[in-house]
Subunit: 190 residues, 2 copies
């Protein structure tokens, strides 16, 4: 009956975030999230495999965007130009809605070690995916690994700037600036 719940997914994310914030992540059950969102438990499980996944929803999509971006870069692109293409593609995942949720998501994660671990693995997985996509283009290791770490660092810094309530710039603009900053830092290192 998914067609009768067009915004169920978004309502579930909102409900979960509110409950995690109000009563803590550990004290919140899937049943409570579904109730708050006004959907059934089975609707919850059509969208998420568990309460933790509500917070990392979109990881697979983000990973796909990053690797698609790298694959799309012209064959003449340098590793960092390929990473820039990855961030350009990734920008489409950072919707206004995601920006609204951002600070609350960060606060919930910061309050719970289990979630910090999940988040750390997410970053590690993104770095591995980028490194692998670069290897496929013929970028040798460890240049591929280093460029991937630089990409993830740029993503993290871009996200922090973009989520700032005073920010007026687009994710893409900020991503370019972050990459430029990191490219300069990398040059200063060597």
């Amino acid at each position: 009956m998914a067609r009768w719940e067009p915004d169920a997914r978004e309502r579930l994310v909102r409900a979960a975030l509110d409950l995690f914030t109000e009563q803590g992540y550990d004290n919140t059950t899937v049943v409570q999230i579904a109730e708050r969102a006004g959907v059934t438990k089975s609707t919850f499980f059509r969208h998420f495999s568990g309460k933790r996944e509500v917070l990392v929803a979109g990881q697979d999509a983000l990973c796909q965007l990053l690797t698609d971006g790298i694959a799309s870069a012209p064959s003449t692109a340098t590793p960092l130009e390929a990473v820039a293409a990855a961030l350009d593609f990734a920008a489409s995942a950072f919707t206004p809605e995601r920006r609204d949720f951002g600070p609350q998501v960060e606060a919930v994660i910061a309050a719970n070690t289990e979630l910090q671990e999940r988040d750390a693995l997410k970053r590690t997985s993104l770095a591995s995916a980028i490194a692998e996509a670069l290897l496929k283009r013929g970028v040798p290791d460890p240049t591929s690994s280093l460029a991937a770490e630089l990409g993830v660092l740029a993503l993290k810094r871009t996200h922090a700037r973009w989520s700032d309530p005073t920010n007026q710039e687009t994710f893409s603009e900020l991503a370019r600036q972050s990459l430029d900053d990191l490219r300069a830092a990398s040059a200063a290192l060597t």
Copy 2:
């Protein structure tokens, strides 16, 4: 009564690794680990806060060695020279015993998502600690963050080479090589 169990800690690590390997991490209890090691449950808890901590034991010590190494570098040292000093200090944590346990620890972690998450957070924490120690030396952000990621990447690569059964080189020698490789890769990127 810790003085009657001089090698209890090592026996507990060995017992835990064997049980995790034989029957899986999720199926292993603290009571089983203590029994296998021939100690009481309360002895277990004098050494570790839980079964998961057996696998990440030494993280705080490693973190301390890395930051001590950075603090010890001469004031004229470049960020990467400070990171090299961190890895030099860290080498003392990589004992022959740890090398023996290494492949088994890796296999147990690779088989369990929860442990992979814990391991990912460990790497993130090490990077943050290195970045903070560099900031304290006046290395500006994002150079500090980038040098820290490079250090963690070097640590990971060094550990993999050092744990290889055919390896004959010391941790310090391999760390220097890894850092040189990454410095070259970083120069190639920019």
